[in-house]
């Protein structure tokens, strides 16, 4: 067996997995998006375009922009919170490094939904925080609560890749930067950040993708205005029984995200070429 054949044999299980559990289901969603429902809401495959005509209604634009806005805000906040956490653990964690990372990951074993309920209990008008502060602050049912929920929900996806990038970096590079009279900021900007930009990009994508499609945070923590694309899709599948329209919304969303994904991959490839050895 030649070496390349041997390598492709190792690819087979992964490729099969992707084909069966990703490509085929996406195919169903695409196929269903041209379908229709009968009088009682049962879905049928078809060759119709009316679902897409509905999707491209300009009324959906604000919802799409809101979803992207919330997701971008989530990415920025995750970066601002996640980078220092990852930095601290990677650089100063020492022999506690693995324990600290385990502690970061631990809450994420708990279901997202349950963690969101915990937020409601803590931040409610009569909740823990207002009780402790003896205050009357309205945290919930605001756009900030939705973004907060998203940040809390997906923060780990930012911390882990940045941690991995920092962990791989040789700490003596930072010392070298300082030896060359770099201020802490200059050292960070010219040494640390370029070495970890791959992690930052990966983390940003890993946070952005689930955040932009999320519906839990908006429906549980948001007010009447905080509707995201995920909420509209969930409505079609779980309430209105209009799976074909839900599938069309999903397909357009996937296409939209694909564009971002391609942009990311190109940026990542460019970074990889330019990255310091």
């Amino acid at each position: 067996m030649s070496e390349s054949r041997f390598a492709s044999a190792f690819l087979l299980p992964g490729a099969l997995w992707l084909l069966l559990l990703f490509v085929v289901p996406v195919g169903f969603v695409l196929a269903l998006s041209f379908g229709y429902t009968d009088d009682l809401g049962e879905a049928f495959y078809g060759t119709r375009l009316d679902n897409y005509e509905r999707v491209f209604d300009p009324a959906f634009v604000p919802v799409l922009l809101r979803s992207v806005g919330f997701a971008l805000a989530t990415v920025v906040l995750c970066l601002l919170i996640g980078y220092p956490v990852a930095y601290y653990i990677a650089i100063f964690g020492g022999r506690w490094k693995n324990v600290l990372i385990a502690l970061v990951v631990l809450p994420f074993f708990v279901n997202y939904l349950i963690r969101t309920y915990a937020w409601i209990a803590m931040l409610g008008d009569d909740g823990l925080v207002n009780g402790v502060l003896n205050s009357d602050i309205r945290f919930l049912n605001t756009p900030w609560a939705v973004i907060g929920g998203l940040v809390y929900g997906f923060l780990v996806f930012m911390i882990l890749p940045i941690f991995a990038a920092l962990d791989r970096m040789d700490p003596s590079l930072i010392e070298a930067g300082k030896d060359l009279y770099g201020s802490p900021w200059q050292t960070f900007r010219n040494v640390t950040l370029p070495h970890t930009i791959q992690g930052v990009l990966a983390g940003s994508v890993l946070v952005f993708l689930p955040a932009v499609g999320d519906f839990v945070s908006a429906s549980m923590l948001g007010g009447p205005e905080e509707v995201m694309v995920g909420n509209l899709i969930q409505q079609q599948f779980l309430a209105s029984d209009n799976w074909p329209f839900g599938a069309a919304l999903t397909s357009v969303m996937m296409l939209f995200l694909l564009v971002w994904m391609v942009l990311y991959l190109r940026a990542a490839a460019r970074e990889a070429r330019e990255a310091p050895a």
Partner: protein
């Protein structure tokens, strides 16, 4: 070729074939109508022998039967109850369509009608079921199931406004949701039927209005209501117990459950609104592909036993349409706020959500989406 000839019903086998077809770049042209998951009339009518014929495969909302009753049923008949849960009727339908066999399911009245139209429910021989005569006479021939032959009614519910009697002064109208000063603590149910139905009632239309012009008026009512709301949410119990909601559009049973969780239950009350009362009920059904219909029948009979039903009513917090102990148990539960109860009068005067068809169905969906994105 008309598009219809290309269309295929989505059964499990069709899905596989459809996927394969698509993957092969052949489109879905190979799919034909057929291999439907629908049952046949003959299968639904086969009499069920009331005997233990295996473990009970149970499919319900979670927390919708007292777990102690399930344990006792297991012990009584020496079977296991294998429970699984759904969180919406659509999710239940999806599992049933996929061909998974359950012995007992708990659909809403609307979905009983839908399942029946697909011949998916086994006939329940009423003569064989003890205590079925305690069921309110309103359910001997309900709108969703002729002669009640394929379902037995379970929980009853009515929709209204839950409110904090210590914080707000209500006036008995649906308009209270937007007009009573709740200091921005009013919540609409995130349920398109309940929300549009409520707006229809406010505008003086029937609950199930499908006329597009009238629906547009109802949509406008909801859009005007939106800035007066703090949220649109189905987490009614959390909203009220956390103090975030002083007025909450909800189902009567939610108030009972809220009262179980708070320190001063007397402040949490329920208002039926004068413009109209949406009422509904769930039901026990035995799907046509049930593997253990005998055990399922025993289970339904067990749940109808007045003592058990009374215990269950107290646990789940929803009334049931059974005369005697269960009715009294619920009355006792809501003594200080009888509004929470669903009475025989309510059943006769209230309006039930119907299965909307075609244009009407689409219109409701569009109205809701227009409201949500507005």
């Amino acid at each position: 070729m008309t598009p219809e000839l290309w269309d295929a019903r989505i059964g499990r086998r069709d899905l596989l074939r459809g996927g394969a077809g698509l993957a092969l770049g052949m489109g879905l042209g190979g799919c034909s109508v057929g291999n439907t998951p629908r049952g046949s009339k003959a299968e639904t009518e086969k009499p069920i022998k009331k005997r233990v014929d295996g473990d009970l495969v149970y499919f319900n909302y979670s927390q919708y039967v007292d777990p102690a009753l399930i344990k006792a049923f297991e012990k009584l008949h020496g079977v296991r109850v294998r429970e699984s849960y759904f969180d919406s009727m659509s999710a239940m339908m999806a599992k049933l369509r996929a061909g998974i066999a359950y012995d007992v399911i708990f659909p809403s009245a609307e979905y009983v009608q839908r399942l029946l139209s697909g011949n998916l429910l086994r006939r329940i021989d009423r003569d064989k079921v003890k205590n079925i005569d305690t069921v309110y006479p309103q359910f001997t021939d309900p709108w969703y199931d002729a002669r009640s032959e394929h379902s037995t009614p379970y929980g009853l519910y009515a929709t209204g406004l839950g409110y904090r009697a210590d914080k707000v002064e209500m006036t008995g109208s649906w308009r209270d949701l937007g007009e009573v000063d709740s200091q921005d603590r009013s919540f609409l149910l995130d349920d398109y039927q309940e929300a549009i139905g409520m707006a229809n009632l406010v505008n003086g239309y029937p609950l199930n209005e499908t006329d597009r012009e009238k629906l547009d008026k109802s949509r406008d009512y909801l859009i005007d209501l939106k800035p007066k709301l703090r949220g649109i949410s189905t987490d009614t119990i959390t909203n009220m117990t956390s103090g975030n909601a002083w007025i909450q559009h909800l189902w009567n049973g939610d108030i009972v459950n809220i009262r179980y969780q708070v320190d001063n239950p007397e402040n949490y009350r329920f208002q039926k609104c004068r413009e109209g009362l949406p009422v509904g009920n769930d039901a026990f059904c035995i799907p046509v592909n049930a593997k253990h219909p005998g055990t399922a029948l025993l289970f339904i009979e067990y749940m109808l036993e007045p003592e058990n039903a009374a215990q269950n009513v107290e646990w789940i917090g929803y009334p049931m349409p059974y005369e005697g102990a269960p009715t009294e148990a619920f009355q006792g539960l809501v003594e200080d706020d009888p509004e929470i109860n669903v009475t025989v009068d309510d059943l006769e005067q209230g309006q039930a959500f119907e299965n909307l068809q075609g244009e009407g169905r689409l219109a409701w969906d569009e109205v809701w989406t227009e409201f949500r994105v507005s």
